[in-house]
């Protein structure tokens, strides 16, 4: 743990006293106390909350398996976003995307690994959707297509190249070919977050999709944070902010205070992009029925919902742990909101992406069965790059070199890991769908799932594998209670 020795010692001293008084010492809690006593600051944390109950392991896919000797590579794993009000549509070949992880929160080598891997996959026929995260986009993300560079002045292009070379040099990546780098074969969604961390209008105009970030699962109601130690000069230059000072995004868009403001914002972005670009609205899972109703009425093409355990680069510890509801639990109110809306409106291509604690094909299938059209994966890709889950991303210490600069990330190896991860996950998804007799991944449905405990059954409305559900289980408890109380209960 990268904490000063006297903080660690103070924590052990406190633990000793607590034990002598006859209590169990909660070491995690005492560590936060020791930190607060040392610096008087709110302690930060990163990645996802330690949810005691995230329900996924309690949900089973009845006959679908990730492994099969049969070839199910024909099964349709594609996902489209857009078309509800946008002229253009984003098409991907897998129903999962790279969730937003900003440059700054994640270091350059990690961003380049993702970029190279996704390009490679696109060349091999697998287009995967990438999300920039809220810290702006890197030059090759904005100008990675021939079309986007057409109208660039020489002066502008020169300054872009200059910044790019600075980035590559600082990270010992001069070996990368500039032409190859400035190729983007995959679709890109840019995040429109409250911090507005971009300087170039092309950020919005060259994107394949715009995601208005209202909130994320790790810090609902709280703005984004990049600690000062991670705002290097290069990061600051990219975002248009001061170096070495913490970058705090406001907890809400200053121009979105209520539902009608969101409508105005979506329409503004539509006008800006000529009604071509799909608009997505992202929220954390909290008062999700009401929030979904507002998004459905806001002329957006798609909603992204991020559950409690969604990761972050930095958030106050208590905000990360205590605010928001679990991903699976949020899917019930979301389904209700969507069904209620379409009782009085025609189906019109609205899509739902769900993030938060989803990293493998089984979890993707369960989420899709429970109502999502696709998912976003964050932590899974970090793991693919070698993340050891020590959850210190908000500091500069990262054993894998993903979010910190003390270790060096092997870009080639990471890119290969990401490539394999996506390829294998697609095969597993197709196996699951194939063994269930479905032609498309999106056809996996609730009848293909079952649960093994009462709470999960209540929260997901899924049955047990023997066909009973929480209603019948509780009814049988009622039977037992009536017998035990010896209540005859006269028949009317």
């Amino acid at each position: 743990m990268p904490l000063p020795k006297d903080v660690m010692n103070f924590r052990w001293d406190m633990a000793k006293v607590v034990k002598t008084e006859g209590h169990t010492a909660d070491l995690k809690s005492l560590l936060l106390d020791a930190q607060k006593a040392a610096d008087g600051l709110v302690p930060y944390a990163s990645l996802g909350a330690h949810s005691q109950n995230d329900y996924f392991p309690n949900v089973m896919i009845n006959d679908g398996k990730i492994n099969s000797t049969q070839d199910y590579s024909d099964i349709d794993a594609s996902l489209t976003i857009g078309g509800r009000y946008s002229k253009k549509i984003i098409k991907t070949d897998v129903p999962f995307s790279v969730a937003g992880m900003s440059y700054g929160s994640v270091k350059l080598p990690a961003k380049i690994s993702l970029h190279l891997a996704l390009n490679n996959l696109a060349k091999n026929g697998i287009k995967v959707l990438m999300n920039t995260g809220e810290g702006g986009a890197l030059p090759w993300e904005i100008y990675g297509t021939q079309k986007s560079r057409e109208k660039l002045s020489k002066m502008h292009w020169d300054s872009i190249l200059q910044y790019t070379n600075k980035l590559l040099k600082a990270n010992h990546l001069e070996g990368i070919d500039i032409d190859e780098l400035f190729t983007r074969e995959y679709p890109l969604v840019v995040q429109y977050a409250s911090g507005r961390f971009w300087k170039d209008p092309a950020y919005l105009l060259n994107a394949d999709g715009i995601e208005i970030k209202i909130g994320q699962g790790a810090k609902i109601g709280h703005g984004g944070i990049l600690p000062g130690s991670k705002v290097t000069e290069l990061v600051a230059e990219n975002r248009g902010i001061l170096a070495h000072k913490p970058a705090h995004s406001p907890s809400r868009h200053l121009d979105i205070l209520g539902p009608e403001d969101l409508v105005a914002k979506v329409l503004e972005l539509r006008e800006l992009t000529n009604w071509e670009t799909p608009i997505i609205v992202k929220v954390g899972a909290s008062r999700i029925y009401d929030d979904m109703e507002i998004i459905l009425k806001s002329y957006a093409d798609c909603a992204t919902v991020d559950g409690l355990v969604g990761g972050t680069g930095a958030a106050p510890y208590e905000v990360r742990e205590d605010i928001g509801i679990n991903t699976i639990a949020s899917l019930l109110p979301i389904r209700n909101a969507i069904n209620d809306y379409y009782e009085t409106h025609d189906k019109d291509g609205f899509k739902l992406l769900v993030n938060g604690g989803i990293w493998d094909s089984e979890r993707i299938s369960k989420t899709i069965a429970l109502g999502a059209d696709g998912v976003g994966i964050g932590t899974g890709f970090l793991l693919a790059m070698g993340c050891t889950l020590i959850q210190e991303c908000h500091t500069d210490i990262c054993p894998a070199g993903i979010t910190g600069s003390h270790e060096k990330l092997d870009v080639e190896k990471s890119a290969e890991g990401i490539f394999n991860y996506i390829k294998a996950t697609k095969i597993e998804l197709q196996n699951i769908a194939g063994l269930l007799g479905r032609k498309k991944i999106e056809d996996i449905e609730m009848t293909d799932l079952s649960v093994n405990d009462l709470l999960t059954s209540i929260v997901s409305e899924l049955p047990f594998s023997d066909g009973t559900n929480h209603v019948s289980k509780i009814q049988s408890k009622i039977d037992d209670a009536i017998n035990a109380l010896n209540l005859q209960g006269e028949k009317i």
Binding site: L257, G258, P259, E260, D290, E293, I294, K297
Partner: protein
Amino acid sequence: MCGICGLMMDDSSLRYSPVGSILQDMMESQQIRAQDGAGIAIFDKNNAGDSFKIKNFRKEGMSNYSIDEVESSSENVPENLEKLSQDSECHFFSFENEMTILKETGLARDLDRKFGIRKMNGSHGIGHLRIATSSRVTPYNTHPFSTTIVPDIAIVHNGEITNYNMLRDSLELEGFTFHTDSDSEVIAVFLASKILKHGDIERAHREFVAKADGPFTYIAATADSIAIVRDKFGTRKGIIGYNPGDSDHPPFWAMATDLSALDVVGATTKIETPHPGKPRIFYRN
């Protein structure tokens, strides 16, 4: 999410005062904001006397509602209110003496067609256009909200009372009754409970601003006052203007969410934005 408006005639003689017509103009100008429901409350001294009306929505079939009106004298009002609380098919929406509340789902002009709002005169009134976000689109969830505690209180509201549950629990514990699930109703019940306690409406508004949390602007009308109140951070809009009067109508104060609503009715002098957290109240002459 909503458009609110209100006006108070500034003339003690109250010669021809087309309150309904002016309110209707203000509402129709803001219609683009909200289309799920419309409602008005208009106050007319000529209705004063020992006659009280209790109005309810009665459900008929799947999604139709009819309006029930029960007339009482001051003697049998408590008895009739008790009867109403026993009837589960009824949704209370108005307790009137000088006031008339008319509200319905749909557009403002449909409200006029159904009830003849433009023909209504009075000294002051308030209006509301609703876009539903957190409760069903039904007539009883439309504003203005009234209460069974005292007659002649109506409120219209734009925003959220975020500590609604806490305020409601506390008022219910004290013994006051709620009739809907809308957070806006708590404004009416709170103000009424304070009027019962000390009778000072301006003080009641100040107490509400201190107690309530969240973004809100509301306009509240009693038999002799109308006030526009913004939350202490001024998170929601609100604006006041004055029309100096002409041959068609007396001078009046107007208030609304949008400046455009004041423009449409010529209330373009003495424009002011109510200070966040400080109720701006107008009394009947």
